[in-house]
């Protein structure tokens, strides 16, 4: 029998990348931009984080490289959608296709090499508390960071002036522009924040979840993160719930596979994707709920004429 503690620990590591990517995309979407390139930025974060750590031996450099890779890719998206006002959906798809190819190429020589793993926190006595010690006080830094990030985003979006501006830009870019806010600049910054989070989420995969590089190792997590934002109806705290729910489904599939109840392993592997669809149906069928919270300008192009 597998200990409950071990299961919870793996659930946390499986949920963290989803949480990181989704919280970033939430801010992007709150500013009225739909970036479908999350999967791509994530996979670039994963490969760059791994390579940086592999050469430097430093996990901090790896994390920084992952973030930078995400930001760089998001800037590409920003340049196209904001400066050249291209279709956001097509551009996001293009970003994902490009990044999946690029990461495969760049990472080819590093496939399967052993990597370093982010160390877990250890506080004497506290971490040694049975059952809950390791869960609360024995995680790696990014787990804590991801949790802080959720409440930080919640606070900034709904309690500060910056958040008000972001939401104004997302709900009515024409009004925000008329009030004198630089819509394009706000959106660029939000896109970069989303890129940083997605890159970090990818880095978490290759530096903590499975410390190695495998091609396409994000396996749809970026898309699930996008679904999470809808599922959470653009509310940061609900992202936390959603990410851990999906992480649990992901891990349960693996454990049941391990126990082997005669259920085809493929069905269990497909479970996270099926659950995503079901979750989207449950949330989206309530039209009022989605309409109320969807940023009104989501996915729309904006050109400052005057």
């Amino acid at each position: 029998m597998i200990g409950i503690e071990a299961v919870i620990l793996t659930i946390i590591t499986a949920s963290t990348p989803l949480l990181l990517a989704a919280i970033g995309e939430l801010v992007v979407e709150r500013s009225g931009v739909l970036n479908l390139g999350v999967e791509g930025m994530m996979v670039m974060g994963a490969v760059c984080g791994f390579i940086a750590t592999y050469y430097s031996g430093s996990l901090i450099l790896g994390v920084v490289a992952a973030i930078l890779a995400g930001v760089l890719m998001s800037l590409l998206f920003g340049l196209l959608t904001q400066t050249f006002v291209t279709n956001q959906m097509a551009t996001g798809l293009a970003l994902t296709i490009l990044c999946l190819g690029l990461s495969g190429l760049v990472g080819e020589p590093f496939t399967g090499l052993p990597g370093a793993k982010l160390p877990a926190l250890y506080i004497p006595y506290l971490t040694d508390i049975p059952y809950i010690g390791k869960i609360i006080f024995g995680q790696d830094a990014l787990v804590y960071l991801s949790l802080i990030l959720v409440f930080f985003v919640q606070y900034v979006l709904f309690r500060t002036r910056v958040g008000l501006i972001i939401r104004a830009v997302g709900d009515s870019h024409v009004s925000a522009h008329a009030l004198g806010y630089n819509v394009v600049r706000v959106r660029y910054l939000c896109i970069m924040f989303g890129g940083a989070c997605a890159g970090l989420a990818g880095g978490y995969l290759s530096l903590a979840y499975t410390p190695q590089w495998i091609e396409n190792m994000t396996s749809g997590r970026g898309w699930i993160a996008l679904a999470l934002v809808v599922f959470a109806t653009w509310m940061p705290r609900r992202i936390l719930f959603g990410a851990y729910l999906f992480g649990t489904v992901w891990i349960m599939g693996l454990y049941v596979q391990g126990i082997g109840l005669g259920i085809p392993s493929q069905l269990l592997s497909a479970l996270p994707y099926i659950v995503t669809i079901i979750a989207l149906v449950i949330i989206s069928r309530n039209k009022q709920l989605t309409k109320l919270n969807t940023p009104a300008c989501l996915g729309q192009q904006f050109v400052p004429d005057r």
Partner: protein, 361 residues
């Protein structure tokens, strides 16, 4: 430096056709620079990518074989995207089409008849359309974002295929390899030339012609463009967005399914866990490069097929990773989208005195 966009009074017709050519040109130039930096002779490398694949009869046939699924799927997606409906799960629809079509040769191993082959193709069409119908249904009934559902269904489809070829449909004489029985005789598409080229290419061309006529000469084509340009305007004209969603998903799903069964009954000859090197996703590039126009898709499909083959060729001749082809493809889509801005806007570069103010960042 400051970049400003100045709206054109009318969309530039010239740029609509010039944009993909500029994008291809830029891709080649950037690709050449990358090769140069990586220490290869850029002209030599580009030759293997884009010219060598059309220099021999064998490879031209191979280009046709690879272009067939790209054109079939790309044409369907072009219709979808024209209507501003986003089916990006063609890869999954391709998989389900292949699986549905393979039902006949796997279940009736000894049945040799042209009717069987036609049935296979029809079941492929049905399988793809049925898989696409899920996303369309959820979109219409529950208002679920079709981008996310169609994409999630890709993963689900691939696991279903995996289960079939490792489980119930595994070839009993296949030495435990995850593959179905080999198709034979009338379970395969008739071939021409050196043996790889099959009638799938002809089917693809017929589909393109029908869709081109539909788009330019029929009421349906007008309806698609009207809804794509403005859903509201379409509604005033009495065009239903919901039925358009059904139409686009079923059509593009059917074509992706057809591409899937053609791939299995053509080059592959049996089911295996992976039946496509991402044709369903590359077809998105094909659709945009082809200007969302079926005839354009035909040309774009051939070009991307060349890049697939060029990637393999460059790997063999120069030792460049075949994955560069995918990077080229992604870069191409990016550049097309950027160049398409030129259709609606003029871009003005100006060096402003106060560089901190007014820059578009």
């Amino acid at each position: 430096m400051k970049i400003t966009l100045e709206k054109r009074a009318m969309a530039s017709n010239f740029m609509t056709y010039a944009s993909p050519i500029i994008a291809i040109g830029l891709t080649v130039v950037i690709g050449g620079i990358i090769f140069l930096l990586a220490g290869y002779n850029p002209l030599n490398a580009l030759y293997y990518y884009f010219v060598d694949p059309v220099m021999s009869l064998w490879s031209i046939e191979e280009v046709v074989v690879k272009a067939t699924p790209l054109v079939l799927i790309g044409a369907g997606l072009a219709i979808c995207f024209s209507a501003n409906i986003w089916n990006i799960g063609a890869e999954g629809q391709l998989t389900m089409g292949a699986l549905a079509g393979a039902f006949i040769p796997v279940m009736f191993t000894d049945w040799q008849s042209p009717i069987g082959l036609v049935l296979m193709l029809l079941m492929g069409v049905g399988g793809g359309a049925a898989w696409a119908a899920i996303a369309a249904f959820l979109k219409n009934r529950f208002n679920v974002n079709e981008i996310l559902t169609s994409l999630m269904l890709v993963y689900v489809a691939q696991y279903i295929l995996d289960w079939f070829v490792r489980g119930p449909w595994r070839d009993p004489k296949g030495f435990n390899f995850p593959k179905s029985v080999d198709f034979e005789g009338w379970q395969l598409l008739p071939t021409y030339g050196d043996g790889r080229m099959h009638i799938g290419a002809i089917i693809a061309v017929i589909v393109v012609v029908i869709l081109a006529i539909m788009m330019s000469r029929s009421m349906k084509g007008f309806e698609i463009k009207a809804i794509g340009n403005s859903r509201r305007a379409g509604a005033f004209a009495g065009f239903s967005y919901k039925s358009m969603t059904w139409f686009c998903f079923l059509l593009s799903g059917a074509l992706a399914g057809l591409a899937g069964i053609i791939e299995v009954a053509g080059p592959a000859g049996h089911l295996q866990p992976t039946i496509s090197p991402g044709y369903g996703f590359t077809a998105i590039i094909v659709a945009f490069l082809g200007r969302l126009n079926p005839i354009g898709v035909l040309m774009a499909g051939v070009l991307l097929a060349i890049s697939y083959l060029g990637g393999d060729g460059a790997q063999m001749e120069l030792g460049v990773s075949a994955k560069t082809a995918q990077v080229f493809q992604g870069m191409l889509l990016f550049l097309i989208l950027a160049c398409d801005t030129l259709i609606r806007y003029k871009i003005k570069f100006s060096v402003s005195q106060k560089s901190t103010e007014g820059a578009l960042v």
